[in-house]
Symmetry: C2
Amino acid sequence: MIIVIPLVDGFTALDAIGPYEVLSRLPEARVVFASVSAGPVQAETKMVSILAEAALSEIPEPDIVCVPGGLGTRRHLDDPELMRWLTRAHGTSTWTTSVCTGALLLGAAGALEGKKATTHWLELPRLGEFGAEPVDQRVVFDGKVVTAAGVSAGLDMALELGAKIAGDDWAKTVQLMIEYDPQPPFDSGSWKKADPQVVKDLRAFADAGLLDGDQPAS
Amino acid sequence: MIIVIPLVDGFTALDAIGPYEVLSRLPEARVVFASVSAGPVQAETKMVSILAEAALSEIPEPDIVCVPGGLGTRRHLDDPELMRWLTRAHGTSTWTTSVCTGALLLGAAGALEGKKATTHWLELPRLGEFGAEPVDQRVVFDGKVVTAAGVSAGLDMALELGAKIAGDDWAKTVQLMIEYDPQPPFDSGSWKKADPQVVKDLRAFADAGLLDGDQPAS
C-alpha cells in the first residue's frame, strides 16, 4: 500500500507528520514524502525541512493521497505540475485525503466538486469556491474523499481512516502506541469553545491577509 | 530564544514535530533541528527524514532543549558526543524537555537524577535506572525539567510550557491556530483505558525486545 504525502514549500509540518505517524503503521504500508522535485522542502516557519524522497512523477498512482496544508499552499493552487499529479492520483486512488488547507489544493485539482469537506476553520467558507459543501466538523468522509480540519486534526483523521482500512483493533493499538490520550491544558482548540477575544484576534489576522503570506502564524 | 531539537537516527517524527509546531510560534523563537552532524536524519520507520540544519556543537547553549524519543534512542544512550552535548546544554538551559523515550537520553546524560519524570508508558519503570522518580502522568514538571509521555504527549507538553513562557492567552491562541480540539475515534490512548487485550499485545511486543530494535512499531 503506497501512501503519498505531497509537500509544497511552506507546508505545515504537523499536517504531514500527524497522519504519517499513524498511517505508516498500516500493514504493508509504505509512506512516501514527495514533491514536484525530490529534495528538502521547507515548512512555513522556515525552521524545519522534510526530505521529499521522490518526485511526484515517479509515483503517479498511490493507494492513498494525503495532502497537508500550510501557509504556502495558497501559492500552489495553480501549480500546473502539482495539479496534474493530484488530478491523476485522485483518479486512481483508493482514498484521497487532506489536512487543514491541503483541502484547498484538492479543491483546485477538482477533487472536491460536489463533495462535503472541511479545512482549517478560518478557511472553511472558501471551500465553496471549489464546488464543495463546507462542513464544520473535525473529519469529513464523503465517498473516498476524506478531509480533516486544521493541523492537529490529521491525527484523528488518520486513526479513523486506519480503522476503516485495518480494523478498530489496529487503530486502538496504534493509538496506545503513540499514547494519544490528549490532555491539552486549555479548551481552546475550536472557535466554538475558545475565548471570543482569541477567536477575534485570529480572524483579524486572517482578514489582514496574513495567512496568504509567508509569515509564521504568530 | 533558541530551541534545539536534537535528532538521532531512529527518532519518532511526531515526538519532534508536535512540540516544534507549538514552540516555533513563541515570540522571537528560533527552533533548530540539529544532530551530531548536520544533514538528513532518518526516523524509525525509515519512511521520513528531517534535515538537521546544524551540528549540535554549533549550538552548545540553547534556551530550551527538547529531546524526542523513538525506537532508535536506545542505541544512542552511550553516544559520547550526544551525551556531552546534552550534559552541557542542560547545564545552561532555561528548560530541558523530552518527549517519549527522549527521557531515556536525558536520563543517560544525568539530567533526571532525583527528578520526577515520565516517558512512554512501556518504558516508565526504566526511568529509575537513571535516578529519576517515574510518574505515570502525561506531562511532568520538576524545576526546569519537563518530560512528556509517549509520542503525541509532546503537543500537550509544549502548550503547557508555552503558557508558562508566554502566557495563557498565547497558548490558547496557538491551540486555536493548530485547531487542537482532539476527537480521537477511540478512547485507547492510555493503558488505563484501552482494551486489556490491546495493552497485553503491546506489552508482549515490548517484552520481546522489539522496542529496542529497528522495526516500526507494528
